[in-house]
């Protein structure tokens, strides 16, 4: 079906079609609508979900963990301070290998308070052991949320599907939805690792471990994350074959013979595509590398792709205060370090707190990267 939906509406609609067993959630701008619309589906009996309207995001994630430990398909949604409040529990969800799927309408972190879009919240959760997908469009958000359920359940890891707050969450786009039945068939039934409710076969979930076992548990979790990449590729392939929409983990847009590329996550990919088209029309050799999967970090794919380009700008919609460049920049420079001939890599921080990032801004960044000259370590795009 072709519909006009905002990002939030599309994700809520995807959740309705996924029809999760349990949803525990708490409102926060700009993701509130997802939960709000979903509770309408609950109220109208359009889903079978047990909806737990908790008293905080901390409890939202905790209740999700409790329900997922009972072998159920579990989802939630949040943003910003909410994700920060969940922080403690994110690690526990991942450590217990629970495939919880969370929609995030990415937003800045206080202080000062700001409700608008940047990647501070999701990126701050980077090391919590969650798979992380950054989406460029509402369509991609819708499709990815559905795929994420299958990926998470196959990889036994929780997943964040991030759409940029307001820029996507509140912006209406034309999307093509799937049939309810098609979503159901695509997802099938979860095959949980364990079920706490099986009281005849009691298990202990979340024990204390000491120096003798903790490391092995963590090591196996790390291995789980490493093995998630083939799962992601497999599920994206299945999705593409079934529904005709293919999502690569890493996309190169007009990168042939490119002298300079930007590496971008989220909605700014669209902005950069416009700039690339304009610059290409003028005969400039520029391209876009869109990173869709932030965790696991696809270092081999990144290295193979980026090794081809002499000049690279890395775009971070978040700053890792006083780090050696933006968070994605430091990862990418590490990835490229082993190359015999390293490209020039520049760090750009843009769009904090929803600051407009226009095709003109993108053009300016491309021009600078093409020039190969940049004085400061990090360039803050569009700051006064």
């Amino acid at each position: 079906m072709i519909l006009a939906k905002t990002g939030n509406e599309a994700l809520a609609y995807a959740m309705k079609q996924i029809n999760p067993d349990v949803v525990a959630a708490y409102p926060i701008t700009p993701s509130t609508e997802i939960v709000q619309l979903f509770s309408n589906y609950v109220a109208d009996g359009e889903v079978d979900t047990e909806f737990v309207p908790v008293e905080s995001e901390h409890s939202a994630m905790t209740a999700c963990i409790g329900a997922a430990a009972c072998g159920r398909r579990v989802m939630t949604a949040t943003a910003s301070q909410g994700l920060a409040l969940m922080h403690e529990m994110l690690f526990i969800a991942a450590g217990l290998r629970l495939p919880i799927v969370m929609a995030v309408a990415s937003r800045s972190l206080s202080s000062p308070l700001n409700i608008h879009g940047d990647h501070s919240d999701s990126v701050a959760s980077r090391d919590s052991g969650w798979l992380q997908f950054f989406c460029e469009t509402v369509q991609e958000g819708y499709d990815t949320l559905i795929m994420a359920v299958k990926i998470a359940e196959r990889a036994y890891l929780p997943a964040i599907v991030a759409i940029d707050g307001f820029i996507l969450s509140h912006c209406q786009e034309r999307i093509e939805t799937l049939e309810d039945r098609a979503v159901r068939e695509f997802l099938g039934q979860p095959k949980p690792n364990y079920n706490l409710l099986d009281w005849r076969n009691p298990i202990l979930v979340g024990p204390a471990t000491l120096q003798d076992y903790y490391f092995e548990f963590k090591r196996s979790e790390i291995e789980g994350m490493r093995r998630a990449l083939p799962v992601i590729e497999e599920v994206q392939q299945e999705f593409g074959q079934r529904f005709g929409r293919y999502y690569p983990v890493l996309e190169e847009y007009r990168c042939e013979d490119a002298e300079a590329v930007l590496v971008v996550m989220g909605s700014a990919c669209g902005t950069c595509r416009v700039a690339v088209d304009q610059l290409r029309a003028e005969g400039r050799k520029v391209g876009l590398v869109k990173l869709r999967v932030f965790r696991p970090l696809v270092h081999n794919l990144l290295r193979t792709s980026l090794a081809k380009f002499p000049k690279i700008g890395v775009m971070d919609r978040v700053d890792a205060v006083n780090s050696y460049g933006g968070p994605l920049f430091t990862e990418i420079t590490s990835v490229l370090y082993d190359l015999p001939e390293r490209p020039k890599v520049f760090s750009y921080v843009y769009g904090l707190g929803g600051r407009e990032f226009s095709p003109e801004d993108a053009r300016m960044v491309y021009e600078q990267v093409l020039s190969g000259k940049k004085d400061e370590l990090v360039t803050y795009v569009g700051v006064r």
Partner: protein, 316 residues
């Protein structure tokens, strides 16, 4: 009436061999609770704390029932998720049994850091039993004061010093906070009174909504008493009315135990190292007097609640 012979026939679902200190009141409470819960199938959650540490160090487990531990402040919110999953499974016909959910947390995990999650879970009326195994301080981290710690107690963050006499605030009345949520059942008890405890567990598990038990569990480490004194101190807590045994059900208060002779509070305080600094000085006597005044006041208040909102009042 519950008989010990019957309880003794039940399976030990909290097995021996765990790592609790000798004389641990909490281990006694959990064992008794899981004996009393039978034959109801239970699924349990617990907060981080002594119980979690001494019962679950991998690869060992004392739990013969399903148990999940997530974090410190999350016994109630984890239970909420488990209960929601159970409701889903039940409504879909995936489970036939009537499973009960029990959350265990200490006083720190209940009165302090877990209070919000507890309040939320009670308000949403998840059907679960929340048990606070209350030893009146953060024993697991080394005896720090909590809002359940009594006035005058010497803890490592309310130490008795040259100026301060130990903790300078009275404990929080968690029972009234819980009751204000209009719970299906709430009760206070302690390990000496095994029949009272077991009966309350059964009532709480069969209550049609959220229920709460506040169980005083003496702690030889934190209270600094002999391990052999645990059960006696539990009894003295009730006999001094320091820890009244009572319940709240259908809007009514009922005192379940009235000591034949209400003992002076000093009888309860004296065997405990956490109150030792109060004995032998004028200033210490004043602290004891204030604690006695508080205990008397709370006891009188409880009796008045029973008179106003008890079975007697219902007959009148």
């Amino acid at each position: 009436m519950l008989k010990l012979q019957d309880l003794a026939k039940n399976q030990e679902l909290f097995s021996h061999g765990h790592r609790a200190c000798a004389g641990c009141g909490e281990a006694l409470a959990v064992r008794q609770i899981l004996l009393a819960a039978q034959p109801r199938p239970v699924v349990t959650t617990m907060a981080t704390g002594c119980l979690e540490i001494f019962s679950s160090i991998y690869p060992h487990s004392a739990w013969q029932v399903p148990m999940i531990h997530t974090a410190f402040e999350t016994a109630a919110s984890t239970a909420a998720g488990v209960e929601a999953a159970y409701r889903f499974a039940k409504k879909k016909g995936l489970i036939q049994d009537d499973i009960r959910v029990i959350a265990f947390a200490g006083d720190g995990g209940t009165y302090d850091i877990g209070l919000q999650a507890l309040s939320g879970a009670l308000e949403r009326r998840h059907r679960f039993l929340y048990v606070c195994t209350n030893n009146e301080a953060y024993m697991n981290t080394g005896i720090q004061r909590s809002s359940a710690t009594p006035y005058g107690a010497d803890t490592t963050t309310s130490p008795a010093g040259r100026v301060l006499p130990g903790k300078v605030q009275h404990r929080k009345n968690i029972m009234e906070i819980v009751i204000a949520h209009d719970v299906a059942y709430a009760a206070q008890t302690t390990v000496f009174f095994w029949r009272d405890l077991a009966t309350k567990v059964q009532k709480a598990l069969d209550a049609p909504g959220p229920s709460f038990l506040n169980v005083l569990v003496p702690c030889p480490l934190g209270w600094r008493h002999l391990p052999s004194e645990t059960v006696r101190l539990s009894r003295l807590a009730a006999d001094t009315c320091y820890w009244p045994l009572y319940e709240y059900e259908n809007g009514r208060y009922k005192v379940n135990y009235t000591p034949t002779k209400k003992l002076p509070l000093e009888e309860f305080l004296k065997p405990q190292g956490r109150f030792r600094h109060l004995f032998g000085s004028e200033a210490g006597q004043q602290v004891i007097a204030e604690l006695q005044r508080y205990v008397d006041e709370q006891w009188e208040l409880l009796l008045r609640k029973q008179a106003l909102f008890g079975e007697e009042s219902a007959k009148a």
